[in-house]
């Protein structure tokens, strides 16, 4: 395996950062979309009216930042490790919509979140052990 940079350039740190950036951008998009929703307009389905919201622009900046951190992750981590771990957004987005947007989570959905979480731990554990040996 290629030598991984440590400290601020640590690709695992950037993976976490990328996931957080995507999660925050999704919440901002939802907020911006809710503010600018105009269902009566003919062109509403394209989502362009969302561009009137500053929240949507913040979200776009965060998406670009997350893409840059993701490219850094791809330089050092195997895709079969990094991509499954990036799916942590499927845990964080529902949890944050529940905490900050007041959306409700059904029992089945909690089970799905738990499944993803267990899968993440299974993938991440050997990686964490590798990191300790470095």
């Amino acid at each position: 395996m290629r030598n991984r940079p440590t400290g601020w350039a640590n690709p695992l740190l950037h993976l976490v950062l990328s996931v957080i950036l995507v999660t925050v951008s999704e919440l901002l998009l939802k907020r911006g979309a809710a503010e600018t929703a105009t269902p009566q307009q003919t062109w509403s389905w394209t989502g362009v009216s969302g561009l009137a919201s500053p929240w949507v622009w913040c979200a776009i900046v965060l998406i670009i930042l997350s893409f840059v951190t993701w490219l850094h992750v791809l330089r050092y981590l195997a895709l079969s490790v990094a991509f499954p771990l990036s799916n942590a957004v499927y845990v964080l987005v529902p949890l944050c919509s529940w905490l900050f947007l007041g959306e409700s989570i059904s029992a089945t959905r909690w089970c799905g979140i738990a499944l993803v979480l267990i899968g993440l731990v299974v993938v991440a554990k050997p990686v964490a052990r590798l990191e300790e040996r470095l």
Binding site: L74, L79, G112, L120
Partner: protein, 114 residues
């Protein structure tokens, strides 16, 4: 589900997968030839192009189907990317990686159908 929509969903998933593979290949090559070389820029552009196609296909599909109907297919992309990375990029699939990918996929399917 009509045959056409199934084909469109399949193309959306496959372009996403190939986009990630191209980006990974591009970023790996930066170690040997730097960011400006053609060996990096070609797969990088191919990756961006594939992901753009995937994005617009998904946008189009979202206009016709519920998000909860489309997300399970996205869940399968975890398994497909792991297998593709093993075959095309010669990454080693360990048992925890396979089990983890299966659990994550199953979880995404459950989250979206609930």
């Amino acid at each position: 589900m009509s045959v056409l929509s199934f084909v469109l969903i399949l193309i959306a998933v496959m372009t996403l997968v190939s986009g990630e593979l191209f980006l990974k290949r591009a970023m790996e090559t930066t170690h040997e030839s730097g960011f400006g070389s053609r060996r990096v820029l070609l797969p990088f552009s191919a990756g961006i192009a594939a992901m753009t196609i995937s994005f617009f296909l998904k946008l189009g599909l979202l206009q016709h189907f519920d998000l909860s109907y489309l997300y399970p297919f996205q869940g399968f992309s975890v398994i497909i990317i792991s297998i593709a990375a093993a075959i095309m990029l010669h990454e080693r699939l360990t048992p925890p990686l396979v089990i983890g990918a299966l659990l994550i996929s199953a979880g995404i399917v459950v989250v979206s159908i609930s």
